[in-house]
Symmetry: C2
Subunit: 148 residues, 2 copies
């Protein structure tokens, strides 16, 4: 089985799309993250939900979780306001981490090797026509470790 057969549809957003819309897409689709493409339609980054939280929560709350209780739920509206009007590119981690991308004709074991090395599900599947979707660890394990 090849990466193109393992790929599942996954929403893709652009670097200049609205960050608040992207986060709502992630939340409503119950996704672990969202794929960000550059202007050429190539995968640029995967934006995980935990990175969104790093962006929206004040640093003092992240560094001392006991202060999180002080920053109580009445401030939750401020969380959305930190995303409003910002492009997706502003929310991305400043990271040089290699992006988990495979070609559409990579084998299941090749996809698994990339996922294991980068500890990164999902892996983005790139075809000639653009981003085909992503492969999650669970879907890959379903194929590699089939039911008895």
């Amino acid at each position: 089985m090849l990466a193109r057969d393992l790929a599942e549809a996954f929403p893709v957003v652009g670097l200049d799309d609205d960050a608040l819309d992207a986060v709502r897409l992630l939340a409503s689709g119950r996704l672990p993250g969202i794929v960000v493409a550059n202007a050429q339609g190539r995968p640029q980054a995967i934006l995980p939900g935990s990175q969104v939280l790093r962006f929206v929560l004040p640093l003092y709350v992240q560094e001392d979780p006991s202060l999180a209780r002080v920053y109580d739920e009445e401030h939750a509206d401020r969380i959305a306001s930190r995303l409003a009007g910002r492009p997706v590119r502003d929310v991305l981690p400043r990271s040089d981490q290699e992006l988990a991308v495979v070609d559409e004709d990579a084998t299941a074991v090749e996809v698994a090797a990339v996922m294991a090395r980068l500890r990164s599900p999902p892996v983005v599947v790139q075809g000639g026509a653009g981003i085909l979707g992503v492969v999650t660890a669970a879907h890959l394990l379903e194929h590699l470790v089939p039911p008895p």
Copy 2:
């Protein structure tokens, strides 16, 4: 909203449970990982799908993805055989990383702070009676960044 209200049911396995069964549970439930409890029913670890792949793939395949093509799909049966008869404890990462656990009466912002700091969804919710479930980043963002 408190952690107990945000927690979603999630399968829990024991350290001595069969690793192959645990991985099949993860795969069939399309879960990002699985919660591992110790003999006292307290959360011991979260086993992510990518860690399972690190365990089952030979090291040379992980270090050089181009060798993954050589290790072709006929060897996929060996992947399941590496898990067979092993307890879950053998598959866990050798890691001192702090486990993402919150008390059932933690606020949503407290859960978010733990998730952001440890870059770890899901976060395990611990109650007096044991593990209540997990909070995912998407579910938390659904609450913190509600639809317009």
